[in-house]
């Protein structure tokens, strides 16, 4: 219980910046329209807009208040339209404390409260002192724990619980060497590549072709067009690698996982330090990713899927960016003992040999467009494009080798590869649905694709193993129904239940 409270005045500034960030394009357009040709006018425009934004920020800071009362977080905000947001305790799933550049300048933090099924950013308190934030978090956490019945109601000692909350049982940090390896081999290359590519295509518009050619000719005396192409491709690759290296380094800097009584706290980031709290009971699945560039060195990264938050990375969160495969089991044992199961074993059910040709053919179809494009660009070297088939078919073969599925007690493990090898570990009681798919070609070979759905973020996430034997696939498909479905264990269904059709629906569809 607390009095209505305002944020730190710096919130006015962050609000103004948020508006700029959110309306970047509009502002650019406005600038172009308003600015016209005269520089002074443009300056006035910018100044005017800055003032308006600041005033807006101050007013919205003034109109924003929050309090914790009767087990609810109550936020009131809005300059013209008053919005009241009441978050009931049992809806709150994640409390994120982060610090952006602005917050760090003033030694403040931002608190974001996330609930299931809503991606609204409204429950964001953008400037608080660290202490205020911790108090708020403690207040809300206590309420959450109460609501979930994890703590006996009525007589919990406040002080005792606080200590429990703040003292991590174990904590893991990434070693500097591992951080460098992680950044070097980070798979962000693709994103960076497209960014740099887009950048390069924009250069055309700024610098005229002629000037560029002259510039290149002056600097690189004997350049033929072929070496020019090779050179620019190399340049794009190097620049994007540097980008990906830096972005991974910034993102994973000082990565730390703390294991607490009921939750994991993941903090990371160089400039923008984010702290993510994931309660154990929200974790839906664990994924082990072995990227193409990391696998040869025996490294993998761990990702958790959890319900109710996360937006950028497809609703999954990095649990640890880089870990040696041998150390992985120990790590899982300490952090998420429930998910420490053997991911390979003799009882693996892999696709049968007759599925191999489907794996190979699939990669053949995928590589065909690339070969044809290559052929179209370099008609005289067209046949060399066929060299692409070699890695494609090898990848197909490796996909076939890696695909497997196994169960252990109440856990199912799915392995599959697209480019990176992914191993998903899912608890039976977290499985939301299973799907089998069969197209006419698979039907002839008696194969089926198996897909498993788990909750993750607002939508779900699915894991697929392709071309399993019909019988195997069918068995895993129905596996989640056998025995207890619940976490609390205990056989609730007697075997005789299965045959009891008295309660099953019988519909008649007479027309």
């Amino acid at each position: 219980m607390s009095e209505p409270q305002r944020q730190h005045p710096v919130a006015a500034l962050t609000k103004a910046l948020d508006v700029i960030r959110g309306n970047f394009i509009t502002i650019l357009i406005l600038l172009f329209i308003g600015g016209g040709d005269e520089d002074i006018l443009l300056a006035y425009w910018i100044l005017g807009m800055a003032v308006i934004l600041l005033v807006w920020g101050v007013v919205s800071w003034y109109r924003f208040s929050f309090q914790v009362a009767e087990g609810e977080l109550r936020i009131e905000q809005g300059v013209f339209v008053r919005k009241k947001l009441y978050l009931t305790s049992d809806r709150i799933q994640v409390i994120d404390i982060s610090a952006g550049v602005i917050q760090r300048l003033f030694g403040l933090v931002a608190v974001e409260i996330k609930t299931a099924g809503s991606s609204s950013k409204e429950a964001k308190i953008s400037a608080l002192t660290r202490q205020e934030a911790e108090t708020l978090k403690a207040q809300l956490r206590r309420v959450i724990n109460q609501a979930e019945g994890a703590e006996p109601r009525g007589r919990e000692g406040e002080a005792g619980e606080r200590i429990e909350e703040t003292e991590p049982r174990k904590s893991y940090a990434i070693a500097p060497r591992d951080l460098l390896i992680a950044a070097t081999t980070s798979g962000r290359m693709g994103v960076a590549l497209s960014l740099v590519g887009a950048g390069f295509s924009q250069i055309d518009q700024v610098v005229s072709d002629e000037r560029m050619v002259r510039f290149i000719e002056n600097n690189i005396p004997q350049s033929t067009s072929a070496s020019l192409i090779v050179l620019s491709i190399t340049a794009v690759l190097v620049i994007s690698w540097v980008f990906s290296f830096l972005s991974a380094l910034i993102a994973y800097y000082d990565f730390k996982v703390e294991v607490r009584e009921k939750e994991l706290v993941i903090s990371q980031g160089l400039f923008e330090r984010t702290q993510l709290t994931v309660p154990f009971n929200r974790i839906q699945a664990v994924q082990i990713k072995e990227e193409l560039m990391r696998q040869p060195f025996g490294y993998a990264s761990l990702v958790i899927e959890s319900a109710g938050y996360g937006e950028s990375e497809g609703n999954s969160t990095t649990l640890f960016p880089l870990i040696k495969r041998e150390k992985m089991y120990d790590f899982l044992e300490e952090v998420l003992p429930e998910y420490n199961v053997a991911i390979e074993g003799e009882d693996d059910h892999a696709p049968p040999l007759r599925a191999l040709r489907r794996y190979l053919l699939r990669m053949l179809w995928w590589s065909l467009p690339f070969i044809l494009i290559f052929w179209a660009i370099f008609p005289s070297y067209g046949l060399y494009g066929l060299v692409l088939l070699v890695p494609a078919l090898l990848l197909g073969y490796q996909q076939y080798r890696d695909a497997a599925i196994r169960t252990e007690d109440h856990t199912i493990v799915l392995r599959a590869r697209l480019l990176s090898k992914r191993t998903a570990i899912v608890k039976k009681y977290r499985m939301q649905a299973t799907t089998l798919k069969q197209n006419p070609f698979q039907s002839r070979l008696q194969l089926r694709d198996f897909t498993l759905h788990v909750a993750s973020g607002n939508q779900g996430r699915s894991f697929t193993v392709r071309d399993l034997d019909e019988g195997d696939a069918g068995r895993f498909w129905a596996w989640m129904l056998h025995e207890p479905l619940s976490a609390s264990g205990g056989k609730k269904r007697s075997p005789g239940d299965n045959g009891n059709d008295a309660e099953s629906l019988s519909f008649s569809e007479d027309t």
Partner: protein, 161 residues
Amino acid sequence: MRTSPKHKLSKSAIKAWRISTLIFMLFLFLVPLTLWMYSYFGDGQLSLWLIIAITVLLVVVAALVILFVPEVRWQRWSYQVDKHEVDLQSGIFIITRTLVPIKRVQHVDTRQGPILRSYGLADVTISTAATTHRIPALNEETAEQMRDQISKFARLAKEDV
């Protein structure tokens, strides 16, 4: 692998689907129509034969899609609901078989567009935390009965824990 689910959709689903496909196809005919308008009112560059060819092709495709697809779709669709699970099978070329434990069901609702309503049909939509499944074109009463049953089963299954 167990056998296909027991129950079929309502027979009148085929008629309802035909009508909705027809409406969709009518929109596709806007393409040759726009082309024709363009060449008629604008400076006619396009050959009339091309437009006629596109139209004929569309008519043939539409006829096939309207005549056969709903029929096949109906034949492939089957479902079964009991107090433990929802079992669905569907698909025209790719056969999809889905299993949802009743316990995972978060909510069920019935939906009815104007076409379905005129045939006394309704869709049942079953949502879990991760997925949404639709059983299309059931009799209104069946749909409502099923909605209530599933939600009852789901409640029972959860209390069971």
